[in-house]
């Protein structure tokens, strides 16, 4: 029905290349997040899909039909803008009703849809007010309600929850996920909050410097990042990257030996901090602990492995002194190996 195919989209602003060939397929009813650091091109890509910006080259198909050249209103989508774009001269009610009014919906339907969307985003108390008098977070919810009210086939959201407090954000996240799933809305959700992306998405597309570095389910992207950038961007603490010597296709980590996809030279170990266990004394991979921070739920160790900076997490029941050396046992199934030259990871061992 309303699947989206993005084919090799490039976009230049003058000499600056904002998008360097982006391809992505989003299935009908799927929830895909675009996750990436500030300035990587997320908003630009969304605006090209919406038809607010023209791409330099490439194609966008919505529901199997190319929409390049179609004006935004003929693309059958709704959008939540990063800076809300809530109309200041209309009440919150009329803002939420705007899309329906444009579709010439009758008053009864408008009322029903507005109340539904307003209820979902907890903005009923402000329906008669003007946006000027609302807080940033309230305005942002008006923008989301305006998009939901038209029950679009495709919904583009540009950091729609960025201005809410942590508690409200968590609640809105769940509610959004529920309604969009029920309605079968194809959703592209831009965020630079990785927990949000992990929690909401069917799949995550990690964007970096105008390119998509990896597309995959949250678990795939987390456990097997395609590149050093993805591993470093996702996860808290980020993935550790430790360059290790390879002898005869093997890497030695303390008493453990791992077969790696290289014969000699060096390889980079991508290690998630929470996948390690404390080894029996005198065994395992040594970590020199500079600071041990008990976080309540876990113990965070900052120090170095093989002389390279690393952060790992141990159960809260462990005690480690600052300056101590601990031995770590690695889980062979949860390691990622990357090429030291390109920073690209080797495919996960079957």
């Amino acid at each position: 029905m309303a699947n989206i195919v993005i084919e090799n989209i490039k976009k230049s602003f003058g000499a600056f290349q904002a998008l360097k060939g982006v391809s992505l397929t989003i299935n009908d009813g799927e929830f895909v997040s675009l996750l990436g650091p500030s300035g990587c091109g997320k908003t630009t890509l969304l605006r090209i899909i919406a038809g607010l910006e023209t791409s330099t080259s490439g194609d966008v198909l919505i529901g199997e039909k190319s929409v390049i050249g179609l004006p935004p209103k003929d693309r059958g989508l709704a959008m939540v803008f990063q800076n809300y774009a809530v109309f200041p001269h209309m009440t919150v009610y009329e803002n939420v009703a705007f899309g329906l009014r444009m579709q010439k919906a009758d008053d009864a339907r408008v009322k029903k849809q507005v109340e539904k969307a307003a209820g979902l985003l907890h903005i009923e108390p402000y329906l008669d007010r003007y946006p000027n008098k609302l807080s940033g977070g309230q305005r942002q919810r008006v923008a989301v309600a305006r998009a939901l009210a038209v029950e679009p086939g495709v919904l583009l959201m540009d950091e729609p929850l960025s201005n809410l407090d942590a508690l409200l954000r968590l609640e809105m996240r769940t509610e959004l996920k529920t309604v969009l799933q029920e309605a079968g809305t194809t959703t592209i959700y831009v965020t630079h909050d990785q927990t949000e992306a992990m929690g909401l998405s069917d799949r995550i597309a990690v964007v970096h410097d105008g390119r998509i570095e990896q597309v995959g389910t949250p678990v795939e992207v987390y456990n097997h990042p395609a590149t050093r950038f993805v591993g470093g961007f996702i996860g808290n603490p980020p993935m550790n990257f430790i360059t290790m010597p390879v002898t005869n296709g093997q890497v030695a980590a303390g008493s453990q030996q791992f077969a790696v996809p290289a014969q000699g030279g060096e390889i980079v170990l991508g290690l998630r901090g929470e996948t390690v266990e404390r080894a029996q004394s005198g065994q395992g991979l040594d970590m020199q602990v500079r600071v041990a921070e008990p976080m309540g739920s876990h113990l965070l160790l900052t120090g170095s492995i093989f002389g390279q900076p690393a952060r790992v997490i141990l159960p809260a029941t462990e005690t480690v002194k600052n300056g101590a050396t601990v031995g770590l046992t690695l889980d062979p199934k949860r390691l990622t190996w990357l090429s030291p030259e390109s920073g690209v990871s080797y495919p996960a061992a079957a």
């Binding site: 607010l52 935004p72 209103k73 959008m79 774009a85 109309f87 001269h89 444009m102 579709q103």
Partner: protein
């Protein structure tokens, strides 16, 4: 600290208040007195003379009709021009610069420019003659051709006074973030709907300023009319000028001045009410 210095803003605006008081309020009071007095005693004689004068009715009518014809056209043209430049990427500044050239020309000079076009030996007749559309020089600006004269004056006024409206409107349009129009576009608004439902309401303050300024100036129209039509097209300020200089009757001239001021104030009040700006509904 801030409390003890609260007189500073007052001190800073004092010179301008004194200046305005001396050069505006004093003459204003004098004019008012001049209009409603005769030889130092209160009297409506000047008013009566003004109202019963042969040219009074025509000058009121002419001024109003000219204002009603010129101001809406200027606003519509300025909105169109402003919207057009807003869509441009390159060359915007140049176009705006060209469009605002008439601003740099005085009223009288503007009248002269159009006189050189519209008079018997003017460019218009030369062109029409050259194209074989007329047999001999045609008079456009006489008492016998009131419609042509009116159109000529209206065109000259529009040419001269649209730029200031456009500058105000362009400034207003620049204040409207493009996201509002984009959001409306996404939700299915046609270009016309975007203009009427989004752009126009958001430039209300600029529209209000432009309307007030232009209308007040239109009621004060004089030099262009004088250059093109002389006394063939009497207007209020023209009558004031005649009573002052030809007839040396300062009292009736003052009565006209007061009438113009009252009309301008009334128009301003009408606009303030009709094009209301609610700060709560602005970005």
């Amino acid at each position: 600290m801030t409390q003890s210095r609260s007189w500073i803003p007052y001190a800073l605006i004092l010179p301008s208040v004194v200046f305005l008081g001396l050069l505006f309020v004093v003459p204003l009071v004098q004019t008012l007195w001049l209009a409603v007095s005769d030889n130092g005693t209160p009297s409506l004689a000047n008013m009566t003379t003004m109202v019963t004068d042969l040219n009074f009715g025509r000058s009121v009518l002419n001024t109003f009709v000219l204002t009603l014809a010129v101001v809406p056209i200027q606003i519509i043209m300025a909105l169109t021009m402003g919207s057009m430049v807003a869509k441009m990427n390159g060359g915007r500044e140049t176009i705006l610069w060209i469009w605002t050239i008439p601003l740099g020309i005085s009223d009288l000079a503007a009248g002269m420019v159009w006189l050189s076009i519209l008079q018997n030996t003017g460019y218009l007749n030369s062109i029409l003659f050259g194209m074989g559309l007329i047999e001999r020089q045609t008079a456009w600006l006489t008492y016998q051709t009131p419609v042509a004269l009116f159109i000529g004056i209206a065109i000259a006024e529009i040419w001269r006074g649209t730029a200031i409206v456009m500058i105000i409107i362009v400034a207003g349009l620049n204040q409207v973030p493009k996201e509002f129009k984009e959001a409306a576009e996404i939700f299915g608004a046609s270009p016309w709907t975007r203009f009427t439902r989004i752009t126009l309401p958001l430039i209300r303050p600029a529209l209000q300023s432009a309307l007030i300024l232009r209308t007040v100036l239109a009621f004060e129209v004089f030099a262009v009319v004088y250059a093109l039509g002389g006394r063939n097209f009497p207007v209020l300020v023209g009558e004031a000028y005649n009573w002052q200089n030809q007839n040396q009757n300062y009292g009736v001239a003052a009565a006209y001045a007061v009438l113009i001021m009252v009309i301008s104030l009334a128009a301003t009040l009408v606009y303030l009410k009709a094009v209301k700006v609610d700060p709560e509904r602005l970005p």
